[in-house]
Structure formats: C-alpha cells, structure tokens
C-alpha cells in the first residue's frame, strides 16, 4: 500500500461558456486552490498541468503555460495528456513526485475552453488515427456511442428512457446547489422527455454539454502538511491509471470494433470495472466502505453503468439502486453530489481534477447544501479516450 498525500487546497473557475482562454480559467482555479491552502505561488516547488488539445500550442504545454500566467518562479514543471483522464494522471504525477521526495508541495491545474457542439478530431487526413476514422468512416460522434450503451442496457437490463431521465433529475437538483456548476436549474423528467433526441434513445438532456472551466489542487506530503499546521487533511489514498486488458470486449470510444475473444478469454473484470478495482486494491478498501462517489456521467445511462462497474451493486441492478433512491440525496451511496457532468459539462482536462475538488469539499464537510452526511471515504472515477482508466480514492 502506498502512502497518502494531503490535499491542502482545492479551487475552481465556474464552468460555462465564457469565451475566454483556458489559461485564464486555469490561473483563476490555481489562485483559488492556493488561497484555500494558505500558500503563495512562490511556495510551490512543482506544477503539473493537464493538457488540452484545443488551446493551440500552449495547450500542449499546459504546465508551463499556467506557470507563466502565474509568474515564472522556477518550479519543476510537467504537462500530462490522457484525454478525459488527463486530470487524474496529473494528480498521479504530482503524487509520484511527492512520494518519491522530488517535491514537498505540488500545484495541479486543468482547464479548457471547449469547442461548440460535438467534440471532433484534429484536422487533416489522418487515417492512422482511430478517432479520425470513426468520424470519417461512420460519422460516429461521442453521443452515438452513449446511445449504443444505453440501447444495450435497455435490452439486457430492462432500463427505460424514463429511468435515464431520473439520473438527470437527480444530478441537476444537486447542480442547482453548486456555485461552480454551469447549469444551476433543477430539471424535470418532463423537460428531459421534451428535449430533442440526439442519439436514440438519448435526448439532449441525457447527454453532457461541452463547457469551459478550470479546476486545481494543491497536494503535499503529510509531513509538509503537518509543518504547515494541517493535522487532519483530506488524503488521497489511491490513484488508478490502468489500461484495458486484451481482449477488450466492450465497444469503446473511439473504436470501430472490439478485440476478438477467439484466442484469449476476456479478463474477469471489464475495463471500467478494473479501473475501480485497481483503486480499491491500492486504497485497501471495497465499495462497501464508500460514503459517496463522483462518476463520469457523459450520459445519464452511463452513470448507471458506473454503479455496477464501481461495485455499488451487482450487474443489472443499477436501475434498482436508482429507483430506490440509494444514489440520491440522503441515500446510502450518493453519486454525483457535485451535479456531475450533467450540471458542469465537459472541460476535458479539468474534469477529473474537479471531481477531486468535490471529494475534498465533501470530506471536509464543506460542501454546503449538497453535503453528504458523514462523508469519510469517496471515489472519483472516469475513463479517458484511447484506453486511459482513472479513479481516485480520498479519505478523511
């Protein structure tokens, strides 16, 4: 079991479509996290930036870009790209530096200014890129994959579009209470049903929007935290960054086909299950120890898939968990008390960091009206394009 690292500070720039540069969002989030930690930027020995590919050249060198915006001060610097898992890998990079003694205290920043409408691959003719191919050959946008997963769950587990709408209703009620969320209005099931179908059976309000936003964390070794006067910090106990195992038999973004299982039996856990499993093993806990979870609800149906992949219930039982209110306010295992992507939208390199901000606030008992009572252990889970798994376990 690895040692814990302390979360000294958490900060965000409110999410939305603000039309400004990702650098501005990241710097604002960083300053908020530093202020929360009671530290000066000059006290920070290392900065890790989660990259964006939609910011032009500076986006690919996010660590240094944020460092310059905050004022060059000679810190160790790293930039990390892992699609939607970029933020978690940035957290992991910071953690590795702290645990190896390379740095005492590290600033982690992720921010993005998202394009309008669908995400799309970079330009040019690039048939060697699976992401380019799925658009060019099939017109398969992200929502079409979410639609495939949803239809599959309906056929196998008997879920309905009305169930999916309830996920939106739940998350939007929480999002309304979160000052950093883009959407601050509770949504009704009728409003979901009245929104346009994007990818059958999913409607506009089942699918997360693209957003601008930024999130940042100040992480430190426990000894540094003590010297700094923080004796009982929120601690990161595990960061999982696993790849799938061959053969990956669930059709995943951005692939056109799965691996073949003709030569090798699939592993006991699917890829998404293995993401949580690796985090649980590293943290020395199980799903029964969780107080709450933040999951990557790119669509309402996908949130239900995560219930099963995190082991909150057995396969096919997610809808039962939802219907009995276990994942809602006051339930046994609240999911996405932040409001989730349903309320934030996607700002790719920031989202996994934003999830850890929510873990931190919940575990500090500082989440205001959306506080989960008695929060002691939380998990944040997501999955990045091209086989990047990511989950973070935090405890208090």
């Amino acid at each position: 079991m690895t040692q814990d690292v302390a979360v000294l500070g958490a900060g965000m720039h409110p999410w939305g479509k603000w039309g400004r540069s990702f650098v501005e969002y990241g710097a604002a989030a960083a300053r908020a996290a530093l202020a929360d930690a009671g530290l000066e930027w000059r006290d920070i020995g290392s900065i890790v930036g989660a990259d964006t590919v939609r910011g032009g050249y500076p986006g690919y060198v996010a660590g240094a870009t944020f460092a310059k915006a905050l004022g060059w001060q000679g810190a160790r610097v790293a930039s990390v790209y892992a699609a939607c898992a970029s933020g978690a890998q940035a957290v992991n990079t910071a953690r590795a530096q702290i645990l190896s003694g390379l740095a005492d205290v590290v600033l982690v920043v992720g921010a993005d200014a998202a394009p309008k409408g669908f995400f799309r691959p970079a330009g040019g003719d690039r048939p060697d890129d699976p992401d380019w191919l799925r658009f060019r050959v099939l017109g398969a946008t992200n929502p079409t994959y979410f639609g495939l997963y949803a239809r599959r769950r309906m056929a196998v587990h008997g879920e309905t579009p009305e169930d999916y709408a309830q996920v939106k209703v739940k998350n939007s009620a929480w999002g309304a209470l979160n000052p950093y969320a883009r959407y601050r209005k509770p949504v009704t099931a009728e409003e979901v049903a009245a929104s346009a179908v994007v990818a059958d059976p999913l409607r506009l309000l089942d699918i997360c929007a693209t957003s601008d936003g930024g999130a940042a964390l100040v992480l430190a070794g426990l000894e540094f935290a003590r010297r700094h006067g923080v004796t009982n910090p929120v601690r990161i106990r595990a960061v999982s960054t696993v790849t799938p195992r061959y053969p990956n038999t669930v059709l995943d973004l951005p692939d056109i086909a799965t691996d073949s299982a003709v030569a090798v039996q699939p592993a006991a856990h699917t890829f998404r299950e293995s993401i949580a499993h690796a985090a649980y093993e590293e943290a020395g806990i199980g799903p029964e120890d969780l107080s709450f979870a933040e999951v990557y609800d790119l669509s309402t149906a996908l949130e239900l898939q995560w219930y099963e992949d995190l082991g909150l219930c057995g396969e096919g039982e997610a809808v039962k968990l939802l219907r009995e209110g276990a994942t809602a306010v006051g339930g046994r295992i609240p999911v996405n008390a932040s409001g989730g992507l349903a309320s934030f939208g996607e700002a790719v390199p920031a989202q996994a960091i934003a999830q850890v901000c929510e873990l931190t606030w919940q575990l500090r008992d500082a989440a205001g009206d959306r506080q989960v009572d008695g929060a002691r252990v939380g998990i944040a889970a997501n999955q990045g394009l091209f086989g990047h798994g990511s989950a973070v376990v935090a405890v208090r």
Partner: protein, 141 residues
C-alpha cells in the same frame, strides 16, 4: 480512404480482417504490423474475410449532423443515419457500421440477425466512396 477493409460484390461482399497465425486472434480494422495479444509470441498476420452475418449488439442513430471529417452536404437537410454494432459469433468481436439506407432504429432489436452489404458513404462529381453497411437479414427476401 481506407484500403483493404472490405472486398467483393453482392453476395461475395466481405469485411476483411487479419488473423495471427500463432494465436488465431482476429483483428478488424486489420492489424498488419504486430499481433496485439500480449501473451502471443507474434505470428504472421494473414488477411481473412469476416463472417457475413452476425447479431445486433446494440444500435443507435445520429439525429444531428456530425462534424468533419464526416462528409455531408451542408446545403441539404440532415438525414439521420442508423449505426449498428454487430457481434460476429465465430470471430467473437463486435463491429460498428452504418445501417443500409432506409433501416431505422424502429426496425432493429438487440440480438436480431444482420448481414454485411456494400454501400456508399458519399459521392461527389469525381469519386464514390464505398463502405460496408449492416442490413437485417429479414429485409433481403
């Protein structure tokens, strides 16, 4: 725009993958450099036609125009297309493809048998880009 992914006409139309001679793993889209099975010492990758028929794993549609590099005429109203993910039993893999023209989500169910047919992705004055499409076997009669 992708070479060697399918071949043949009419009844003989097939998706083409590759198969590892050492471990029998099948790859689609074709893998021509290395076998991706981590437990395989690596064998020659031989072209292999995939099964013509399979069963619907799932399906959906695209009600909004996808962005480039998907090619569509912005002057014309958007016609939603259907996408079908198909499980090929003997290769034990799932292949995504567009449905044949006219097939909507209302015509489909998970588990239904479909077959691969040649289709047109788009065409302009100079070129016709061909592709594969999935079509329920029931509508062939």
């Amino acid at each position: 725009m992708v070479a060697g992914w399918f071949a043949g006409d009419g009844e003989d139309f097939r998706l083409l993958g590759t198969r590892c001679s050492a471990c029998t793993s099948v790859f689609f889209p074709r893998e021509d450099s290395h076998c991706r099975n981590p437990g395989c010492p690596g064998g020659d990758l031989e072209e292999v036609p995939l099964s013509r028929r399979g069963h619907v794993w799932s399906f959906t549609d695209g009600r909004y125009r996808p962005p480039s590099p998907y090619v569509s005429d912005p002057e014309l109203p958007w016609e939603p297309y259907t996408l079908i993910a198909v499980e090929l039993p003997s290769e034990r893999l799932v292949v995504l493809g567009q449905a044949a023209p006219g097939v909507t989500v209302a015509d489909l169910a998970v588990g239904m048998e479909v077959e691969v047919v040649p289709g047109v992705l788009h065409e302009d004055a100079g070129t016709t880009w061909t592709t594969w499409q999935w079509r329920p076997t029931e509508v062939t009669a």
